[in-house]
């Protein structure tokens, strides 16, 4: 095909958007809605993932040391802990700190401590945070073999709950995305089919006067692409606005933020570029394919 033909077909596709305003607008709306449904679901998925990651960071293994081991051994112990692969953070928690904290927590029951006569029955301890809670039990059993360990308190309940919650939430969010993709396919194909149906006459006449399939479909392709691209742009702007509004609203919900951790919510500005590109590219692609595929049916004359 010559350049003049390509130029003509592209121009024709763009003209069609203007000439079939009503149709183009309907396709635009449906593409916009689809992009938003899928886009927002994906963003929600990413955030839930990040939030669970944030909560997971709060895991803590307490390693109680045997009473009376020498200071250099305690330090050596700490170095060994820091050298382990799955360990993210190591904090030493002396028996004195432990007693102070205990007293503070039990302030109501002061009388209990009076009888201690200054003795401290609590052990020295290390507090360790693991990087990946999925492998927490392996890390614990490695530590258990260290010399000087009295006992280890690992948050297995917390970890199990969290792993299960993550599984459920990820399943829910994954299903949501899948559902939204299916919804999008259904509504986009319904609309493009209907839209192309109302132009079947035009398609068939072109075929009758000697146009090839590609020649007929190309402008439809361009038309869908232009519509889809604009839908992508608007979807991006809407997402931006909604996302920012939601995160701002969440800033005020301190209690909720306490639970999920402030840093866990992804800032829109951090992902603005991939989002913009995905929206426009996916919009243009889906729009183009939807139109081009739907024309197929009426072109066989």
């Amino acid at each position: 095909m010559k350049f003049s033909s390509v130029h003509y077909l592209v121009k024709k596709g763009i003209d069609n958007v203007v000439r079939n305003k009503m149709m183009a607008f309907a396709s635009f709306c449906v593409l916009l809605v689809s992009l938003l449904l899928v886009g927002v679901s994906v963003l929600a998925y990413l955030n839930v993932n990040s939030i669970i990651g944030g909560v997971e960071q709060k895991n803590e293994i307490a390693i109680y040391l045997q009473d009376g081991i020498p200071n250099e051994m305690i330090e050596h112990f700490g170095d060994n802990l820091r050298g382990l692969p799955n360990v993210a953070d190591v904090v030493f928690y002396s028996k004195e700190e432990a007693l102070d904290d205990f007293k503070a927590r039990m302030a109501d029951s002061d009388m209990l401590f009076d009888s201690l006569n200054g003795e401290n029955p609590l052990p020295d301890a290390y507090r360790v945070r693991v990087a990946d809670i999925q492998h927490i039990s392996e890390t614990v059993s490695t530590i258990a073999k260290f010399e000087g360990v009295d006992s280890i308190d690992a948050p297995y309940d917390f970890v199990n709950s969290l792993l299960q919650i993550r599984k459920v939430l990820m399943a829910v969010m994954g299903t949501l995305i899948l559902a939204m993709v299916i919804v999008s396919i259904v509504i986009i194909s319904s609309t493009t089919k209907t839209s192309v149906y109302s132009r079947r006459e035009e398609i068939q006449i072109m075929k009758y006067v000697g146009a090839t399939d590609a020649f007929i479909r190309f402008p439809f392709f361009v038309e869908g692409m232009v519509t889809g691209f604009f839908a992508g742009c608007i979807a991006f702007l809407v997402t931006w606005g909604v996302y920012t509004a939601v995160t701002n609203a969440l800033q005020n919900q301190t209690l909720v933020l306490n639970i999920i951790g402030t840093g866990s919510i992804i800032q829109f500005t951090d992902i603005i570029l991939p989002i913009a590109i995905s929206y426009m590219a996916v919009g243009a692609l889906i729009g183009a394919l939807g139109c081009a595929i739907s024309t197929k049916r009426y072109i066989n004359v």
């Binding site: 003509y8 132009r199 006449i205 009758y208 020649f215």
Partner: protein, 227 residues
């Protein structure tokens, strides 16, 4: 060249539109097709364009054997034929100019040539003023003339006109047939379906009469040249 050998067409509704038709139109011929309403004239034309397939028999147009023609070769066949459809079939979303130019676009004609050629044929059918109008803004006769212009524009080997003067006044009809005659004189084969016996009587030539799906008359008659 058009050749139909023992061709029958039966529509899915059960209507036998053509029954064992045999017809041969040589390159450079000019033939009128006449016949009563529902006789099968348009059906024959749809066959030549491979809009429908023959239920029986073989159809051969401009060297293409339509029975064996591959789907992707159909546009090639249609480019060798200029057709005036009985129901016009103009593209509603394109202006008169674009409708006619489209036929040249599909054969990758140079833009310059398209401009000149389309303006010329629009002039031939007297629609200079309407070039930028959409089909819905035209009168019946104007639409028909656009259809005629579209059939002429790419200098096809064969022009098939199904009732091209049904909506046009007698004077203009004579002009149109004279135009077709002059194109025929340059070597283009022309097949014209018409109900206007006056035209047939005036111009004469080969006359094919179809009745009830059969060719009942096929011969050459002198034109009377009277009006």
């Amino acid at each position: 060249m058009v050749e139909l050998k023992d061709v029958s067409v039966k529509y899915s509704t059960g209507v036998d539109a053509l029954n064992h038709i045999n017809l041969r139109i040589n390159d450079g011929d000019f033939a009128f097709v006449v016949g009563s309403s529902g006789a099968g004239k348009s059906t024959m034309i749809k066959l030549l364009l491979k809009e429908i397939d023959a239920t029986e028999g073989t159809v051969c147009v401009n060297g293409y054997h339509l029975n064996k023609l591959k789907r992707r070769k159909i546009p090639e066949l249609r480019r060798t034929i200029g057709i005036v459809f009985q129901d016009f079939r103009l593209i509603p979303t394109m202006t008169v100019y674009e409708n006619i130019a489209f036929v040249l676009r599909v054969i990758d004609a140079p833009t310059k040539y398209i401009k000149k050629r389309v303006a010329y044929v629009i002039g031939l059918v007297g629609l200079q003023d309407k070039a930028k109008h959409f089909p819905s803004e035209l009168s019946g006769g104007e639409m028909q003339r656009v259809a005629i212009a579209r059939a002429l524009v790419n200098d096809p080997k064969l022009i098939i006109a199904d009732e091209p003067t049904g909506n046009i006044d007698p004077e203009l009809s004579f002009e149109i047939v004279e135009l077709l005659k002059s194109i025929n004189a340059c070597g283009t084969t022309i097949l014209m379906v018409t109900h206007e016996h006056e035209l047939v009587r005036h111009f004469g030539g080969r006359i094919i009469n179809i009745d009830n799906g059969e060719i009942v008359f096929d011969d050459i008659m002198e034109g009377t040249d009277e009006i």
